[in-house]
């Protein structure tokens, strides 16, 4: 007898509408804009492991490889025409220099296969050199504005990262913390995509200036799909 398995590679995206544009929230923690064949990922924090290693914490040096492998798998599946890395793509300014040869190869392959855009983040204000792609601090595509750090009072249609949203959901006497998208009909904050990028609870005050009165949903990343949960039902911590 074989154990009941769940399909591994056909995670169901959750449809989501922002400023009238139809988008898909992927359980992998990425955003897919099918009409534009555009894939958006936030906060890769590549080379975070080696950044810590420099300070004496010898974290496993596999985070960059793991993050890029997940991204590459998405690219193979979706065949995007454009990939936007929403800032904090490298954990520090020297990150790109420390890329291992194999990881550099993967990254260069990704930036060559589609139009690749580096949005500047606070960890990486300058674009990485020698790995392809072009850089900008912000981008407007149709009615949507793409930037690293969300702005209080931004026009409707903002897509941002930076905050690493995570949500804690309780049921059946225990709780579960997962990465999530934080969203209301006007704004979407993406979860961090990087393997070592932690999460900040969406109930943290950092979110309350963006989403007034907790009138927003956490779209929680599960194994198969993304589950919307109203902020009022979430737990702290």
């Amino acid at each position: 007898m074989t154990p009941p398995t769940r399909p591994l590679f056909c995670a169901t995206p959750a449809p989501f509408r922002l400023a009238g544009v139809a988008l898909s929230l992927l359980a992998e923690g990425a955003l897919w804009w099918a009409a534009e064949r555009t894939l958006i990922v936030a906060d890769l924090h590549l080379e975070k492991g080696s950044s810590f290693a420099r300070r004496g914490m010898l974290l496993p040096p596999y985070d960059t490889g793991a993050t890029l492998a997940r991204l590459a798998a998405l690219a193979v599946r979706l065949e995007p025409a454009r990939i936007i890395a929403l800032g904090d793509s490298f954990h520090d300014r020297r990150g790109a220099e420390r890329l291992a040869a194999a990881d550099r190869e993967t990254l260069v392959g990704l930036t060559a296969a589609a139009e690749w855009i580096w949005i500047a983040g606070n960890h990486d204000p300058e674009p990485p050199e020698g790995v392809g792609g072009w850089a900008t601090s912000e981008l407007a595509i149709g009615p949507l504005h793409v930037r690293h750090e969300p702005r209080a009072g931004a026009l409707p249609g903002e897509i941002a990262g930076h905050l690493h949203p995570a949500a804690r959901v309780a049921a059946r006497g225990r709780s579960l913390r997962r990465r999530c998208f934080a969203a209301d009909p006007h704004r979407l904050v993406l979860p961090a995509f990087g393997a070592y990028a932690g999460g900040l609870n969406v109930l943290d005050p950092a979110f309350s200036t963006l989403f007034r009165g907790r009138a927003f949903h956490a779209w929680v990343c599960g194994a198969e799909t993304v589950h919307p949960v109203a902020a009022a039902r979430l737990l702290a911590g």
């Binding site: 009941p4 004496g56 914490m57 974290l59 309780a170 049921a171 059946r172 579960l176 702290a236």
Partner: protein, 840 residues
Amino acid sequence: MTAQPQPAAADRLLPGRFLDWFARRGWAPRPHQIAMLEKAADGRSVLLIAPTGAGKTLAGFLPSLVALAERPPADTRRGPHTLYISPLKALAVDIARNLETPAREMALPIAIETRTGDTPAHKRQRQREKPPDILLTTPEQLALLLSLPDADRFFGDLDTVIFDELHALVTTKRGDLLALGLARLRRLRPHLRTVGLSATVSEPDDLRLWLVGQTAGAPAALADLVTAPAGAKPEITVLDSVNRVPWAGHTTVYATDEIYAAIKAAKMTLVFVNTRSQAERTFAELWRVNEDALPIALHHGSLEVGQRRRVEAAMAAGTLRAVVATSTLDLGIDWGDVDLVIHVGAPKGASRLAQRIGRANHRLDEPSRALLVPSNRFEAMECRAALEASAAGVQDTERPLPGALDVLAQHVLGMACAAPFDAVALHDEIVSAAPYRALDWETFERVVDFVATGGYALRAYERYAKIRRGADGLWRITHPRIAQQYRLNVGTIVEAPHVKVRLASRRGGGPLRPSARVLGEVEEYFVETLSPGDTFLFAGTVLRFEGMRDNDALATRTADEQPKVPAYAGGKFPLSTHLAAGVRAMLADPDKWSALPEQVADWLRLQGEVSVLPGGDELLVETFPRGNRFYMVAYSFEGRLAHQTLGMLLTRRLERARLSPIGFVANDYALAVWALGDLGAAFAAGRPAIGALFDADMLGDDLEAWMAESYLLKRSFRTCAIISGLVERRHPGEEKTGRQMTVSTDLVYDVLRSHEPDHILLRATWADAARGLLDIRRLSDMLSRIEGRIVHQRLDRISPLAVPAMLEIGKEAVAGADPDLMLREEADDLIREAMGEAPA
């Protein structure tokens, strides 16, 4: 081995002023004190087992006091002669105070000082320059001292090391670190003498082995043993309540009046409980009935330190009538004239009970008095078993396990901080420590590699190495900063992340205003289960959780009397194997039931009529339908941790047998599993046979597969990552708390497991979880014990014995539920509730 009193021995071994001092006090040296002097004269290391109140501490120190009193003065600086290591800071301070009395009264020229984490930096610096003759300290401070470049000079005059409460140390990672430190001390001082002190130990040889250096390939070396005669047997009674003993749960509300009456009749009572929430509950209940306004206080580890110190001072001053306490008051220190110990809830272990009862009446010739108050019917049996074990003098302390590898990694770095090391010599030194005597060279090499560069197959961090081997073949730290980092993070005590509970107020419906008042700390995971508005008991009052702010949990006082969140976190200590066997034997033998409260005996008789009672070495498994579900209850008595592991593994098997298990609950006595499939019918038809379901092979692949996913393993990994130095608690110049750790060890775990599953730190994590949170050894012992002895009883409805476990369903977290299913249910529920509100 018991010491024979030698009338002339005291005169021969004790100098005149000691004999005079004893005489002035009206004492005679006790035989075990004399025996300790004789062992010292022969240069022998020794384990002293003596009951509380037998003058154990003096016996341990007497040889050192005599040697120091007789030592000719030196004109050069001398290092400490005697080192005393205790598991508690407070105990070290207390012992120092107790030693100063004889030293002063005999005018001995002996400097006695303590050194703990609380000792100010200038005093520590001074101690290094001008060491005391007797230094009382903790395992962490010893590790720190040994990592200093002048460790060999500092310990150059060391003669004796005394380990207090040794049984409590050896089963922990602190004990592992201490054993490694002792191995280093022995290398610095080959003729070092060790003294172990303990009141309760099940296997003295484990401790005797620990105390002396081991040699590879040679038979185990043991320290000598001195045993003091036991004191008067304690008078223990189990409360036979006039009220109904609850079927299940962990409260003793039913017995509050009786507990109060006992307190009232005694002079000073210690009320021991197993968990913090029980302490809060019992304290609140006692004050509810406290008509005479007796001074009754509360003491547990989560309370603010100042408040705890005030309670301790009041106890010592004799101004309290009772203190409700958790294990924070288990060890060592004399707080006052306690004449009664009440144990609320079952004691979980015979030695644990003995230790706690020892807190009452520190005089050998008078019996201590104790009252056991079971909180449910199984506990009534357990209390009875504990009472019998106590009468028989049984000890059931845990046995030490092989040394942990994360601790070894910390030690290796510490040794590199002290001086460049040769790997072969360091390995030889380490395997002389009992917990590491079986450490093979290859594992040791991997640990050194881990300390150096992380030990990854992908050798990415050579340039960031912490230690490096030089051309001379010696390993040394690459930068002085590494030593600084090591010293900031030394030690093996890793607290679960805590948050402060801060009192807040809201005046006249205004905004919430945090106050400066911190009531104490609770585990982060507890706060995570709270929603704003939930009420819970803390620091003796009902509080309303308002939310998190700046890493503090804000709470307001509320008039509610009943907290909504019961917050029973299971006790840390599972039922001991010995008491479990006692309970099983009691169940199997109706002749023994007369010793139980009548209502408990009735309950067992009813069980015998409706179902069966299992024989002493049998496992009873009952199945019955209820509602639209099918239940299975296994009465295995192996403790909550082992049962939880068993529950996880059984549900995996039942899932494969397509019986659709939904969840399970585990307590110390039994495991209940429920499913959509008819479990009873399936077992009867052999699909699967009950024997196959409980087959020990579940500890193979199933366990591996489940453990890899388990959050329990992530918890263990966090501990190992911190102890081994992979992540830091504190970085020079920054103070980090557990909450603010800049990288999530859960994420690191996921990455490491998928890329290098056989990494040395994952091995350490596995060993840690197996010995701690999963209790695999015990589960494995049980599975082999019950093989071929499983009694499956198919019932139409729930049996009396099953009721306690069934009552816990719904109260306890349901383990084993699929997290994604849980998420979906939560989401669906919401979508139904707020249709159209969700932006979809």
